[in-house]
Amino acid sequence: MMTKKHKFPGKKLLVLALAAVLAAGLSGCHGAKEQSAFSIPEEFDTSKNYEITFWAKNDTNKTQTEIYKKAISDFEALYPNITVDLRLYTDYGKIYNDVITNIATETTPNVCITYPDHIATYLTGNDTVVPLDDLMADESYGLGGSKLEFDSVKSDEIIPQFLEECSFAGHYYALPFMRSTEVCYVNKTYVEKLGYTLPETLTWDFVWEVSEKAMEQNADGTYKINGQNVLIPFIDKSTDNMMIEMLKQKNAGYSTDSGEIQLFNDTTTDLLYTIADHVKTGAFSTFKISSYPANFLNAGQCIFAIDSTAGATWMGTHAPLVDISSDALVDFETEVMTIPQFDPENPQMISQGPSVCVFNKKDSQEVLASWLFTQYLLTNEVQTAYSETEGYVPVTSKAQESDQYQDYLSREGEDNSTYYDVKIKASKTLLENVDHTFVTPVFNGSASLRDAAGQLIENVTKSVRRKQEIDADYIDQLYSDVTSLYHLDQISASETSGKADLGPLPVESKILLVSLGAVWFFILLYLLLEKRKSRK
């Protein structure tokens, strides 16, 4: 069974912990302060033992767990004085919450799977996350370094876009580990049964039109397309991504790089009205309200299921992972397509997937040990093995071009496990569209903004289902409620990214500094004159 909705992350301590982290951050740093606590040792000390903790995320997938364990075992064989303790999570949010709790108690992990949005919050603490720029460039222990015990990836062998996603506030704070995007898993059989042919690139208009057509019912209340009592033609797993991708495709505001919130705009309102129209007919719902798109798709109760490529093994009649009973499975052809677009000539989709960051510790040798393990996760063996567990792609050209990975891709559909066609098609969709992926700006508060974007769709969907009118007054109240719920009014562009370069000083500050300098000058001058006088 998949992770359930009723599993939510964290403990009540989080609120206090976050407050403590923020307080520490505010009192201890001012924007451009550097992470000076860590400096790279000249030599890695192999005479001492180091125990590092690695908080990893898996997709409730046993194979991924085994790959992590093997990577650790292989790494420990190369570095016998390093022990890696694995702690497993199935949810990014829970990792985020636990890290924040542990920042307050100075018990962060050494190495952690994370999202850049989350790192921006971690950085509000003092010297929490190690900037990796110097480590990456280090001749001995950096990417491709001369003193490494393994065949490390070189800097230019990491896919540039994926690496850039880990750079913000002027530093690299993580390495990409895996990348995925969202795709639309389509019941092609039903689309054609409804009299349509799938276009080369899916559009929003097409998805809405087919979804509405599918709502036709028989006299007994069953749906004509599937003969069942249940049908939700279009379900989106992540409404956060849905809103973000729609706005990006429309070239509408979401946020600026510096953290100015632009989410609440006319385009957003128009999109919400459109979504409301299709909720009203029953043609659209969300994961949070109805359940996993995969469960509906596989039961023949959904036609367009948008979900991560990393969820591909759950999709389709012959999916290796299934949550519904076998007698509920329906036989159909699954097509994997890019998410719907407003401008099919210029497709855009989100880039997502786990990255890895290194937390700072008092012992620089311990940090170096952490960095060595982080780097090891980018070796070909780990990259290819992990990417094959789901619709991920390796983050290095070295792994992507390897014979092993190319062989894997070429065997699409050979079986319904390792070479499951839907999974490999999902990976190929991302590989073919890397240039069409994007990420949202990272700043302290960007994680909340992302949640808020999804909440707009969730609230509208719920409200329509509860027969509430969606009009201008409703939208105004919704924007106000969501702003308040996610404290978006407390995010200011000037507070973004704890260690951001704050740019030139304001005029007032310059005047103050010049005045202080002048005062000190006159004090010194006075003292000198007094000294001269006393000599005379």
């Binding site: 409730t60 046993k62 085994e66 199935t90 359940s291 719920k462 509860r466």
Partner: protein, 259 residues
């Protein structure tokens, strides 16, 4: 003087405890008996359980019910297993302060206004707009539904406190060495101690997957440890709440050797 006082208090507590337990048992039995004899009288504007069941998903519902167990409290929201004499109500993410949450001991009567929702077959009250603690107490006795396993009628008892008798532990999966194991952390063994426990039990040739929900019963709870100590072939009795996820998925709260 203080020492004497403490000693006296300790002694009085020692003597009082068994009496209290007995009194509590008596009270519980009496309450359960009384409740079973009388139908729940609902306040004005409050639905009966039948009316709740008849309400459509996304309808606003107003219920009076009794807390049976608390799953979690997070960001001022509580998730509860509740039940009245006629049936159960799973309440998801009900806004409540920590102080209020502490008052929600088993048996506490609450009035809740929210929306009926369904998620993968689980019927629940979500988006609660208000709740209040009322006078009254009812602690449900587990209903033996062993004979209903595999039958359509089982869903009529969704979310109720139930028991299963004389079931046999089956292999839940394999460990890294390929040996059969009696339970898994997460449904496929991808988790570790502290995650949900999944185990399989059979009756009359049919096998069912049961869960120890880690928020309801964490790794230090008796039931969590009891499941970790299970062996394939053990005959066990169980109690728990009849949760639903794409089919029956009981949240087990007690495991003992079959009587």
């Amino acid at each position: 003087m203080k020492k004497r006082l403490v000693l006296l208090m300790a002694l009085s507590l020692t003597f009082a405890f068994p009496g209290a337990v007995m009194a509590e048992e008596n009270t519980t039995e009496e309450t359960a008996e009384a409740a079973s004899e009388e139908a729940d009288v609902k306040s004005e504007g409050v639905m009966t359980h039948d009316e709740y069941l008849a309400a459509a998903v996304d309808d606003e519902v107003v219920i009076e019910t009794y807390v049976q167990a608390k799953q979690s409290w997070w960001e001022d929201k509580a998730t509860l297993y509740t039940q009245d004499k006629d049936g159960a109500y799973f309440i998801y993410n009900m806004p409540c302060s920590e102080e209020e949450y502490d008052k929600l001991v088993p048996g506490t009567k609450i009035k809740v206004t929210g929306y009926k929702a369904e998620w993968s077959g689980e019927i629940e009250v979500a988006d609660v707009s208000s709740f209040e603690i009322e006078d009254g107490e009812y602690v449900a006795e587990p209903l033996d539904v062993t004979d209903l396993l595999g039958k359509d009628e089982l869903i009529d008892h969704q979310n109720e406190l139930v028991s299963f008798k004389g079931m046999t532990v089956e292999a839940a999966g394999q460990d890294a060495d390929g040996n059969d194991v009696a339970y898994l952390y997460n449904y496929d063994g991808s988790g570790s101690e502290g995650d949900d426990l999944y185990f399989n039990v059979s009756l009359d040739g049919e096998t069912y997957t049961f869960t120890v929900e880690s928020y309801l019963c964490d790794k230090d709870s008796d039931v969590y440890k009891a499941v970790e100590a299970l062996n394939i072939g053990d005959k066990i009795d169980m109690e728990g709440f009849l949760y639903w996820y794409e089919g029956v998925n009981p949240h087990i709260t007690s495991v003992t050797a079959a009587e």
